[in-house]
């Protein structure tokens, strides 16, 4: 988990290979736009936390984790400050466990030094109902007592079901409930893109489905509707 693969853009912004856009979907953000959004969020985090001294970034699996690492790289580049990065799996805290087949767990990695008195920035790809964030807040409560908790997301697609909002947003994306937002990242999917398409008919039930560890980890579109 420690090995960081430099993203294409980090290597110097060479042109992206044309991202594959499946039939019926369109790319709302390409790789360069994702990078610009992350750079802006990195600056905003430093500004809001007055230099980022006490900041710990926690990515929510699966796509929040590489996003958190990229944010940390940018913060280091801007301020020459190594920010602790970890991951926080929220599966065991979900409120919909009983409505789907059992889910495989993601990794939780709390950086050395713990979470007490830190300013935690949760990082996720898509903010939707807010239920993932609610679960993450519950999980944090069992892991320590942070001084403050903030939320950074790449895309806010609206339709909140809980009183939750993000502190840092890459892009506000008004969507219909019949649509489906998919974030693809170089680290997990081979290329960077945010795709908007019609929701797949079976997706609601088959979404995280299954136990078979292989396919369920690498499936695309995992974020749909679960943020």
């Amino acid at each position: 988990m420690r090995v960081q693969k430099p993203t294409k853009s980090d290597a110097g912004g060479d042109p992206e290979p044309s991202p594959e856009v499946p039939e019926g979907t369109r790319a709302v953000l390409d790789g360069n736009e994702i990078n610009r959004a992350l750079t802006r969020i990195a600056h905003e985090v430093l500004e809001r936390t007055k230099g980022g001294q006490d900041v710990t970034l926690l990515g929510i699996p699966s796509r929040g984790v590489p996003l958190a690492r990229r944010l940390a790289q940018r913060i280091e580049r801007v301020e020459d400050l190594a920010v602790p990065v970890g991951s926080l799996d929220i599966t065991m805290y979900r409120d919909d466990l009983r409505s789907a087949p059992v889910r495989a767990l993601g990794r939780t990695e709390i950086p050395n030094g713990g979470l007490d008195d830190r300013v935690i920035v949760l990082v996720d790809d898509v903010l939707f109902s807010g239920r993932t964030v609610r679960a993450a807040l519950d999980a944090l409560g069992d892991l320590g007592r942070p001084r403050a908790v903030q939320l950074a997301v790449l895309v806010d697609r609206g339709h909140r079901e809980l009183p939750i909002r993000a502190d840092y947003v890459g892009k506000n994306l008004p969507t219909s409930l019949r649509e489906n937002v998919t974030v693809r990242l170089d680290e997990t999917d081979g290329h960077d893109a945010v795709l908007l398409g019609p929701s797949r008919p079976t997706a609601a039930t088959a979404r995280d489905g299954g136990l078979r560890p292989g396919p369920s980890r690498s499936r695309p579109g995992t974020t749909e509707g679960n943020a």
Binding site: M92, Y93, L97, R98, A100, V102, A104, D142, L211, P213
Partner: protein, 303 residues
């Protein structure tokens, strides 16, 4: 995933690996300030123990409690069983009380399978007679993978009272599924008649097998299940099949010694071996809690 855990033979390689991976994630819970997850809140787990057990029962109890399930301990002594109630009636009583999972240990082989036909909830076999003990085999596999980094191609020797051992049977089935090579080592009298149908090698000579083993698992001689004499004397058994310091020295350098407990020091394992850092007995106990959490989560966590 399946609804019950009755035999390790029912697990595919993917399913078994998923259990081990889940256990590895849940192992972190033991290091946190709040050692509890809310996942099974409002679910009821019944520990139905017809045989004495300390380790397995407390391990299952702790695992269920760490997942916030309600736990009811039911032991045959001091219950309606001592008044003559049958397993079926006891099961139906528990069913009527709304048990979501029943963890059963019974002296009769096949008891867990019978129970699975009578109740709606999940049944977890915590040892049925001389048949199977799936969670023990899973925690053994977890411990091997944790210590040695892999299971595929690992050479495992299981030594001792194979005839009466449910741990041996579950381990042979599981380890074979996961790609390890198992050799059973015992005097001929302590091997089951049907052992040639098992997916493993058999040897009568411990000294021949030890230098070729990455893992040696010592089993206790289960005197309480023996109605005949199976070997001339304890001393002779210990000479031929006990693991002492000298034999340990002849094993590969990073090979480990395992024991499902309870150990009888001086019989199958010498005290100096039991206390050596290469012996994983206490690790196995600690891993047992995470492993049983994983099994409970995978059986009860979904819809």
């Amino acid at each position: 995933m399946m609804r019950h855990l009755l035999s390790t033979g029912d697990l595919t390689r993917d399913e078994a690996t998923l259990v081990l991976d889940t256990a590895a994630e849940l192992a972190q819970v033991g290091d946190r300030s709040v050692k509890k997850l809310p996942t099974l809140r409002g679910r009821t787990v019944v520990n139905l123990f017809y045989e004495d057990s300390t380790r397995t029962r407390t391990s299952f109890e702790l695992a269920a409690k760490r997942l916030s399930a309600d736990v009811i301990n039911f032991s045959a002594k001091g219950s309606s069983v001592s008044k003559g109630e049958s397993l079926k009636d006891t099961a139906l009583t528990l069913q009527a009380m709304g048990a979501d999972a029943v963890v059963i240990r019974h002296s009769a082989s096949g008891a867990a399978h019978r129970l699975a036909n009578w109740v709606d909830g999940s049944v977890l076999n915590a040892g049925d007679g001389t048949h199977e003990h799936p969670t023990q085999a899973l925690l053994d596999a977890y411990t091997m993978r944790d210590r040695l980094g892999r299971l595929d191609g690992l050479r495992v020797a299981i030594v001792g009272d194979i005839l009466h051992s449910r741990v041996a049977r579950s381990n042979v089935l599981l380890l074979t599924t996961l790609g390890a090579h198992v050799t059973l080592v015992a005097p001929p009298t302590l091997l089951p008649v049907s052992v040639h149908t098992w997916t493993c090698e058999v040897s009568y000579d411990l000294d021949d097998v030890l230098p070729k083993s990455d893992v040696v698992m010592m089993l206790r001689v289960q005197a309480e299940r023996m109605r005949d004499s199976f070997f001339p004397s304890v001393r002779e058994y210990s000479r031929n099949y006990g693991l002492d310091g000298e034999r340990l020295a002849r094993m590969p350098e990073n090979a480990i010694v395992m024991h499902p407990g309870p150990m009888v020091r001086g019989m199958e394992i010498a005290a100096e071996v039991a206390d050596s850092p290469r012996c994983t007995v206490t690790e196995q106990v600690a891993n047992g809690v995470s492993l049983r959490m994983a099994v409970l989560y995978l059986l009860l966590g979904g819809s």
